[in-house]
Structure formats: C-alpha cells, structure tokens
C-alpha cells in the first residue's frame, strides 16, 4: 500500500505549508528550548539575591527581577519546564483513561457503554476549572495533584471523541470484514478501529495541551498547584499581582505572555493539524 507509506511526509509537508501552524510550532519550540536551557542561566531560578530587588528589564535581567531579586527570565524559562511537563502529563492521563473508556463504550454499546458515557457527561457537566479545583484541593496542594486534576478533567473530551469515532467506524466495511473472518472483538477494536480514530485524538491532544497549561496555571495561581519556590507560570503571576498597581508590571506581564504564547502555539498547531488530517478539509482546498 504505497499510499499509506507516503502519507506521513505528505502530512508534515502539508503542515509546514500552513503558515499559522508553523508559527505555533515556533512558539512551542522556543519555550521547549528555553525550558531545556534554563539551567544554563548564570542565576538560580529559586535562590533569592541574584540581583537588586524589583529591577525593571535591563541587559543583565531582560525580564527584570522579582521582589527577592531573582532573575525573572530564568524563572519564566524554568517555569516553562514545569508548565510544559504538567501539560504533557495531564494530557497523557486524559488520553490513557479517556481513549480506552470511549472506545469501550462505543464498541460494546448497550448498558455498559451507556453507563460509561453518562459518567463522562456528569464530569462534563461541571465547569472544568471548578472540577479541577475540587480534585486538586482533595488531593492536597502540589504540582502532582494539579497534573492529576487537569488530567481527570480532560478525560471526558477524549472519551467522547473516541466514542463518536468508534460508533461511526464500527459500521464500516473493513470492520464488517473483520467480523466476517472471525477476528475477536478486542482485536478488531485495538488493531483496526482505534488506529483509524487517531487523527482527531491527535488534534484534540494538541489543542488540549494549551488548555491543560492554562488550567494548571490557574490552579497554581490560587495556590493549589506549584508551591514556593517553584517558578510555575501561574505562581509567577500570582506573586506579581500585588505589584501591578505599584508599577512593577514586568512581574506579571512576562509570565502572562509566556502562558499566552504557549497556548497560542498549541492552538495554532492543533488547528493546523486538523486542517491537514481531516480528509474532507484537505480535499476542499
């Protein structure tokens, strides 16, 4: 099947032809690179006293310093490591639980499937941030609970997408053929249906990264996520908010921009991926 082999290159090249997606990729690459290189900064991300207190942006401290004299650029970059990891792990949790649940519900249908999907509907009925707050508060403050909370909140989205995909795929000819030659149901589901549902999952996961980062930052902002002295972006904004009025705008602006650009990056990339991966959108071009 030559068509399948050439597909990845086609997808990538199509993606790279989408300018907005490339912008998104650049944002993501920049923050990832910054997170990886933050350790090389001459200043520590957590030790007070790298410079004078509350200095505005300068060559020595491009993002300024905070109320302990810590270099804000170093903290924002190091914060990227925490925020990106949080997003990744949260999405992984949502995926690992949501995809099997949705696939199961779609494949077996009936009462069991209905029960699973009604449970998902219950989770979706809560405002997601409120649900994340409740879970994080129950688990106790900390970055791990924030990851778990954001991960759990993301489960129903994936379950619903996969559920819908499976429902439509299971009526297709190749699945009927599988049944006809006597393949066991599990094997049809795992080896034939789920792979064909991957594209929307990938799109959703990319878009979900931005959302996960924002939710985790919100949790940290209200004290349920990262704990001092970890420079998570939400914490940086929370620390700086008392200084907006008194003129130290850089303490909130730069972490705010970090959150905004990284979310923008993931959303642009996700939109681009959807355009490329959705055959209908592709042919309509």
């Amino acid at each position: 099947m030559p068509d399948l082999k050439s597909r990845p290159t086609t997808t990538l090249s199509l993606l790279l032809r989408n300018r907005l997606a490339v912008v998104g990729l650049v944002f993501i690459a920049l923050w990832t690179l910054g997170a990886l290189l933050s350790g090389l900064s001459p200043y520590g991300a957590t030790q007070p006293g790298a410079g004078a207190l509350l200095q505005g942006p300068s060559w020595a401290h491009p993002f300024g310093t905070d109320n302990f004299g810590r270099d804000l650029l170093t903290r924002v970059l190091a914060g990227g490591r925490i925020s990106l990891w949080t997003g990744l792990i949260a999405i992984a949790i949502s995926l690992l639980i949501g995809v099997p649940l949705g696939a199961f519900a779609g494949f077996v249908r009936g009462r069991a499937g209905g029960l699973v999907m009604r449970l998902m509907d219950m989770l979706l009925a809560f405002p997601s941030l409120v649900l994340a707050m409740a879970i994080a508060a129950a688990l106790g403050p900390g970055m791990v609970s924030a990851m778990v909370a954001v991960g759990i909140v993301g489960i129903p989205e994936f379950a619903r997408i996969v559920h819908g995909q499976v429902l439509s795929l299971r009526e297709r000819d190749f699945v009927e053929a599988g049944h006809a030659i006597g393949l066991p149901g599990r094997s049809i589901l795992i080896r034939h249906i789920v792979p064909n549902a991957l594209a929307p999952i990938l799109v959703r996961a990319t878009l979900g990264m931005g959302y996960a980062i924002l939710t985790a930052a919100s949790l940290s902002f209200i004290g349920l996520g990262a704990q001092p002295p970890d420079p998570e972006w939400g914490v940086l904004i929370s620390d700086g908010r008392g200084y907006i009025i008194s003129g130290e705008w850089w303490m909130t602006t730069f972490p705010g921009l970090a959150i905004a650009t990284s979310i923008l990056g993931f959303n642009l990339l996700g939109d681009g991926l959807r355009d490329v991966l959705d055959p209908r959108l592709r042919t309509s071009k």
Binding site: P48, F68, S218, P228, P229, Y243, I244, G256, I259, L264
Partner: protein, 524 residues
C-alpha cells in the same frame, strides 16, 4: 480559531487580574475630602458576626466597639503628639465609678444614671448581669470570662452591680474594657428570639448604629444622636470590604476612601509620597513567629529549633519584606507589653552556629520538614521563601504547602502541623494573658505543643501574685526559659499601619488595632 481567541483572552485575564476593580476612576461625593461629616473606610474583610461575645476578628470587633459600650475602657495618652491608648490605666465608661473589696476579690460598679440603649431603654444593673451571662455562655468569649476569674455577677440595686472573683486577679480590670465585655440590651435580644439574633443585629448603647452590614460588600454606620457620652463628630461612616490590598491603596490615593487598613509595606512608601495621604505607623504588640511543633521530630530537640532560629535572615525580613514597617522581636512577648524581657535571647543570622547546633543534635546533613503556609498575608509568603532559601544553605529542606486560611486555622487546632508562621495580637496587653494562651502546657492556642515545667510553674505563681514587680520577675523567668528553648523562631513585631487622608483627626492607636470611629473627625 475561536478556541484560540478564548484561551488567549483567558490567559490575558489571568495576567491582568487585579486591575479590573480599579477601572472606575470617577470620584463621587462619598470621599472623605468632599463631605466633612462622612467617612468611607476600606477594610480587607467583612467580619463574621456582630455578637460582642462571639466576635473575633478586627472587622467584627470594630463594629462591636462602635455599637456597644463597656463598663470601663482604656485611658488615652499622647505619644509624640499623636493619641494612643494607655492600656494599663482603666477609666470609667458605662460605670461611672467602682470599688474593690479589701482582699481584691469583689468589685462593685456604679452605673451612670443617664446611659441609654440606642432604642431608649436605660442601661440597668439587670442588663449588666444578663450581658455577663451571655458572655459566660458564649463559645468565643467564655474563656476570657474564666481568665478574668469571675465567679458571680449580682445586682445590688438598679444602679449597682457586684462582681465576685474566684481569687484576686490582676487581669480582671484589664479584660473588662474588651469589646467582648460589651453591655447588651438582653431584653431586646429575648424579644427577638434569643442570642442568635445578635449575630446580625445590635442592641447596644454605643455611639453608632449599624444601619447596614453585608460582609461581602460594605457596611454603614449612622451616628447615635441620643448618645449619652460625647457626641461623635462623624455623622456617617461607610466601610467597604475590599480584599485586594492594591485596590485599597488605589482608592485611598484617589480619595475615594478616607481611611484604609492592612496597607502592604511595599505601598507605604508610595503612599507617603502621595498628595494628601497620611501614614500612621506605630509599634504595636502584634507579633509574627515561626512555630516548630515540639512534639514532632526533629523539632522535639531544642538544639534543632535553636539552629532554625540562627538561620532566619532577620535583617532581610525587616527590610526587604516589611520595608521597615516592623521591628525586631526578641521575646515571645511583644516589647511594648509591660513585663517584657529579652533575657536568654541570643539569636542572630549566623549559619555557622546553626550548622554546629545541627551537628550537635546528630543531624549534620540536615533534614527535611513540612511547612504549612496559611494564605491571606503576602508577607508570610515572602518570609517563608526567604527562610526556605536560608535553611537550604544548612542542608535543611523546607517543603512549603500552601493552605487557605480557614483550613489553616482548623489545621492548627489539631496541634499536628509540623511548622508554620502565624501572627498574634494579645488584646489584653499582659504577659500572663499572652503566655497563658500561647506557651503554657494548658494553653488553648499552644498549637506547637511547647511544654516546659519552668514556664508552667512561673506562670502559675504569677497569676495569683498581686505585686506587679514580683509578678513581672516571674514572667521574666518564663520568657528567659522560652527564649532559650526556642519553641518559635521570632520573626518581627508589626507596626500598626493606618493610612488615611490628611485632615482626619483623632485617630488613636490601640494595641488591638481596632479603629474607634467615634474618636475621629474630618476637617477639610
């Protein structure tokens, strides 16, 4: 793309949160500068109850002292031209005079004949007796009732009340001026269905009527025009509840409020420079300390606690965090409290000494512990981060766990929190009251489980010692022992900071930090 825009908007909102509430810049006529007999004040929180015997926070207490009178009150004096409370001198209020029995176990108070409750009923001996019954039955102030040593309150005649004590008690007259010991029109309370009614209504004889109280937004007080005492100069006081400190500062700068409490130290400098703003910053007896749970390893070893005390960056806390709006704390008792002693206090920021003490305690590699950080006060957060960084230098890992304030207070009461920062104000400015609650084995607020026979014995002896000098000597012994055993690392003594518009006169600084609005006047 819709999703992108939404997410961006949310991120932007997160980035600029805190700005929104300041967006309105219109100055209406309610500011202190516009109306001479009206004051608008900005408080951080709205209070929990109006019941004098249950009130326990500055906002609730403020309304109680406005709406109620007590039998006696604190004298006022001048300090550098500014009025200040003289807490060791007690003067008449609803009681025009009082007599103590020869053995100091019985006091007879003679009530003013002209004092009336706000709805016109006279303040009688019956009301006093019933008010004391209410205090005794309350959940909050009943411990003060015990601490004052009150055995029995009886009506002698319409104008005289006799209070018998279990033993001579030097705290008795000190406790009576507290807001908790307000005289309430209990007949009116009974007509309205009992003590629960008091939580949201008032039945006092005080200088102001509470006309509105919505803890989430604002409260209003109107002058009691038939007040028996000096007529308050301000006709109307509105109190707005604004949680965000920067918003309070901004409103004061723009003269939309005439007085603001809980001004962050970092804003004091900018406010001093602002036109028409006066900062009243004076030493108080509000202390902040880093408590280590004496029952949880490794803080059961005094050498470990001393090591922590040597690792605190005291100068940085005073200068970088408090910007000079605090002073060094050198005993468990505030330095402005009569009977204060810093004997045995040797702690400076000295990491070598800290390391040596850890080595002696068998922990040369350091250790790791959980620190619970209560929310609500920016300086606590900043102190914790600085202390964490210093402790890291001696190998000690301090894991900060943030906790919302209500949960934090609940957690403290379990006495199982390993380490925490908390502040304390002793409304009764006396070491016996202070140490009895905080650092004796039986102390109800001894959340760090400090238990020391020397301290317990000295405190016990002092509590029945009538001679002030001997008593203070005993309190000195207790303080020296505490300073040496270091159940807490002392961080600082807060200044009481009240920021107000120029032209506001009469503000008197009390150790309890409560503003008495009836003393204020506004001149243009």
């Amino acid at each position: 793309m819709k999703r992108t825009v939404l997410a961006l908007a949310a991120a932007a909102a997160l980035a600029v949160s805190g700005c929104a509430a300041n967006a309105n810049s219109s100055s209406n006529g309610s500011g202190a500068e516009d109306a001479g007999d009206t004051l608008v004040a900005a408080y951080s929180e709205g209070g929990k109850t109006l019941d004098p015997a249950e009130a326990n926070d500055v906002t609730s207490d403020t309304f109680v002292v406005a709406a109620y009178d007590q039998l006696v009150t604190y004298a006022r004096t001048e300090d550098g031209g500014k009025p200040k409370a003289k807490t060791d001198q007690i003067v008449p209020m609803l009681a025009e005079s009082w007599k103590a029995s020869a053995d100091n176990t019985s006091y007879t108070f003679k009530l003013r004949a002209d004092a009336k409750f706000q709805d016109g009923a006279p303040v009688t001996a019956d009301a006093v007796v019933k008010s004391f019954d209410h205090i005794k039955a309350s959940s909050s102030a009943s411990f003060l009732y015990k601490m004052a040593g009150i055995a029995k309150v009886t009506k002698v005649d319409e104008q005289n009340v006799k209070i018998d004590l279990t033993a001579p008690n030097h705290l008795f007259l000190q406790i009576l001026p507290m807001y908790s010991f307000s005289i309430i029109d209990m007949d009116k309370v009974a007509q309205n269905g009992g003590a629960k009614w008091l939580a949201t209504n008032t039945a006092g004889s005080g200088p102001y009527k509470i006309t509105k109280w919505d803890p989430s937004t604002e409260a209003a007080m109107a002058r009691n025009d038939s007040y028996w005492g000096d007529k308050p100069k301000l006709r109307q006081v509105n109190v707005k509840f604004i949680a965000e400190a920067s918003n309070r500062v901004q409103l004061l700068k723009k003269a939309e409020v005439g007085l603001a409490l809980e001004v962050p130290p970092k804003d004091v400098q900018s406010l001093k420079a602002a036109d028409g703003v006066t900062i009243d910053s004076r030493a108080g007896n509000k202390i902040l300390f880093f408590a280590m749970n004496n029952k949880i390893k490794p803080f059961d070893d005094p050498r470990v606690r001393q090591a922590v005390s040597y690792a605190i960056p005291y100068e940085k806390l005073l200068n970088d965090v408090m910007k000079g709006q605090a002073s060094p704390m050198k005993s468990s008792v505030a330095s402005s409290t009569p009977g204060f002693s810093d004997a045995g206090y040797t702690y400076t920021h000295d990491l070598d000494k800290a390391r040596a003490l850890l080595a002696q305690a068998g922990l040369p590699q350091g250790f790791s512990f959980d620190f619970t950080l209560g929310s609500g006060f920016d300086d606590w957060n900043d102190d914790a981060v600085l202390i964490q960084a210093e402790l890291a230098k001696i190998g000690v890992t301090m894991n900060i766990k943030k906790m919302a304030r209500p949960q934090f207070l609940e957690a403290l009461e379990t006495k199982k929190v390993q380490a925490y920062i908390t502040r304390w104000t002793s409304f009764v400015n006396d070491p016996g009251y202070h140490l009895g609650l905080l650092l004796t084995s039986q102390g109800s607020s001894n959340y760090a489980n400090f238990s020391d026979p020397v301290v317990d014995k000295a405190w016990e002896q002092a509590s029945t010692e009538p001679d002030v000098a001997k008593r203070n000597k005993l309190y000195g012994v207790a303080q020296q022992e505490i300073n040496t055993k270091a159940p807490w690392a002392y961080l600082y003594e807060y200044n009481i900071v009240v920021a107000h518009r120029a032209g506001l006169d009469g503000y008197t600084s009390y150790p309890d930090g409560i503003v008495r609005f009836f003393q204020l006047s506004v001149t243009k």
